[in-house]
């Protein structure tokens, strides 16, 4: 809260400290909701600019949840823009994805990329409200109440969305089982 108070008083350095602390979480949420790295980066930047400009509106509660709400809305805006103006793929290479991980072998890095692509493909197949609930709960680890705060939905709606999303993801991942690394295949016996 001290950094937030300093940022309110115009100390941009204090706000940038908050940015560095939360940018990975915001960027990963945007990437999982949008599915592409470059639009995710744009939405992340818009999130922090909007957060700085509206810092006076944050009074109490979880700053992270408030930030995630702004990020979610930025992603929804981008998805609405896509619906209005569908763009053709020009085969431009996106920003190369890099993972937050310690040094690992090339084989593990390939398995990680394969797992990430499979999960993303299944997330992309979900309705946006279920996708948001699943990413916030199962990928980012927020609890029901935080998700209700972020999405503005009731607690019962959040539970229902999470349940539906998990069921769809389970079915999707099972159908794409051959794409998953051996350690993550659903037909394996529980370790």
């Amino acid at each position: 809260m001290a950094l937030i108070q300093q940022a309110r008083q115009g100390r941009i350095e204090a706000f940038n400290t908050l940015v560095l602390a939360h940018q990975a979480r915001v960027y990963n949420l945007a990437y999982r909701l949008l599915g592409e790295p470059d639009p995710a980066a744009d939405a992340t930047q818009e999130t922090f600019i909007a957060a700085y400009n509206n810092l006076h509106q944050f009074h109490e509660g979880s700053f992270v949840a408030w930030l995630m709400r702004i990020a979610t809305n930025a992603c929804y805006d981008e998805l609405r823009r896509r619906q209005r103006r569908p763009t053709l793929s020009l085969d431009q290479p996106d920003t190369e994805i890099q993972w937050i991980s310690p040094a690992e072998s090339p084989e593990n890095a390939a398995q990680r990329a394969e797992l990430s692509r499979a999960i993303q493909a299944c997330l992309d197949a979900l309705p946006i409200d279920q996708r948001t609930a699943a990413v916030l709960c199962d990928v980012q680890g927020h609890d029901y109440q935080e998700i209700a705060t972020i999405t503005g939905a009731s607690l019962g709606t959040v539970k229902s969305r999470i349940s539906r999303a998990r069921e769809r993801l389970r079915a999707c991942l099972r159908s794409a089982e051959e794409l998953l690394p051996d350690a993550y295949r659903l037909n394996q016996k529980k370790p």
Binding site: V19, L20, N28, R32, Q98, S101, K159, I162, S163, R174
Partner: protein, 318 residues
């Protein structure tokens, strides 16, 4: 494998999901655990759901492609200051719009007033358009004031020597002259140039106004045997050394209607013209304000008329 394959209901899926999140009340949790022990399909569904969550929670975290810190040069001001500047900009925009609207209304008012004045002058005569206190000289210049058509028709006959342009007279004097049977009808002059009020005290103004009048009348004056007062009057009207005409004409004989009516000759008219011009020079100082106010309006109206004429508009001429 869907819930139907497990023989489960959607409510079971909600229960299993909440169970894995440890979000069930104790009673419901105990009831579900009893069912899990008894129902192998429900147990299998729970296992697959749990592994799904393991996969999702193992989703690799992406490293941000760059830092998203804000540029201090651009965002260095506090959010409150930024809000205040945006608010100020909105206030300025509103005030600017209001001022622009008022200016537009004022412009429309000036145009409407000009049109009304033009119509009034068309019906009342040429003298009505002459601003009070404005000294006019005969010339063709960009800024012109045309007399109306009725006055022009009235003066289609050749201008008599010694005739005084009606535009240099005040309305009351014109009425007096009109009442005098000895004076000719005041002609309308085609064009005049409005001089700035500051030039009224220059001697060449009076010279330009009266001297041509006298030059044009020289032959007729000789024919009618002008009285001895003509010589000093001409000298006063056209000073050779460029001295102030107002100062020289200050000693001229004042206007006397009785004398005018009895003289009934062009020299009397010249006397009137010189006297009137001299009087105008001294009396215009009291009317300069009127000139200063009326001239911009007339200049604006003249400009608008020219523009409208260029566009082929059919506004009445005034």
């Amino acid at each position: 494998m869907s819930l139907r394959m497990f023989g489960l209901l959607p409510t079971d899926a909600d229960l299993l999901s909440a169970y894995l999140d440890n979000a069930l009340p104790a009673s419901e949790r105990a009831a579900l655990e009893r069912r899990l022990t008894a129902d192998p399909n429900l147990r299998t569904a729970l296992d697959e759901l749990q592994r799904t969550l393991v996969i999702l929670r193992a989703a690799p975290q992406l490293a941000p492609p760059r830092d998203f810190t804000l540029d201090p040069a651009r965002y260095g001001r506090s959010p409150a200051t930024l809000r205040a500047s945006r608010t100020n900009a909105r206030v300025w925009l509103r005030w600017s719009a209001a001022i622009a609207a008022i200016a537009l209304i004022a412009l429309v008012g000036v145009i409407v007033r000009g049109i009304n004045n033009s119509r009034q002058s068309t019906s009342s005569g040429a003298i009505a358009i002459v601003p009070t206190g404005m000294l006019l000289t005969s010339s063709t210049t960009p800024l012109t004031i045309s007399t109306n058509s009725l006055a022009a028709k009235r003066t289609e006959s050749p201008t008599l020597p010694g005739v005084i342009p009606s535009t240099v007279m005040s309305p009351t004097l014109v009425q007096k002259l009109a009442a005098s049977p000895a004076l000719p009808v005041a002609p309308a002059v085609s064009t005049f140039r409005a001089l700035p009020a500051t030039q009224n005290t220059q001697p060449n103004v009076l010279q330009a106004t009266v001297a041509p009048l006298i030059d044009a009348q020289s032959t007729s004056a000789q024919a009618t045997k002008a009285p001895p007062t003509q010589a000093p009057l001409a000298a006063a009207a056209a000073p050779p050394d460029g001295q102030s005409a107002a100062a020289q004409s200050a000693g001229a004989q004042p206007f006397a209607p009785a004398t005018m009516s009895s003289a009934a000759t062009p020299p009397a008219a010249r006397l009137y013209a010189a006297t009137l011009s001299a009087t105008a020079n001294t009396a215009d100082s009291a009317n300069n304000n009127a000139v200063a106010i009326d001239s911009p309006l007339q200049a604006l109206w003249s400009l608008i008329r020219r523009l409208l004429n260029l566009l082929g508009s059919g506004l009445p001429s005034g």
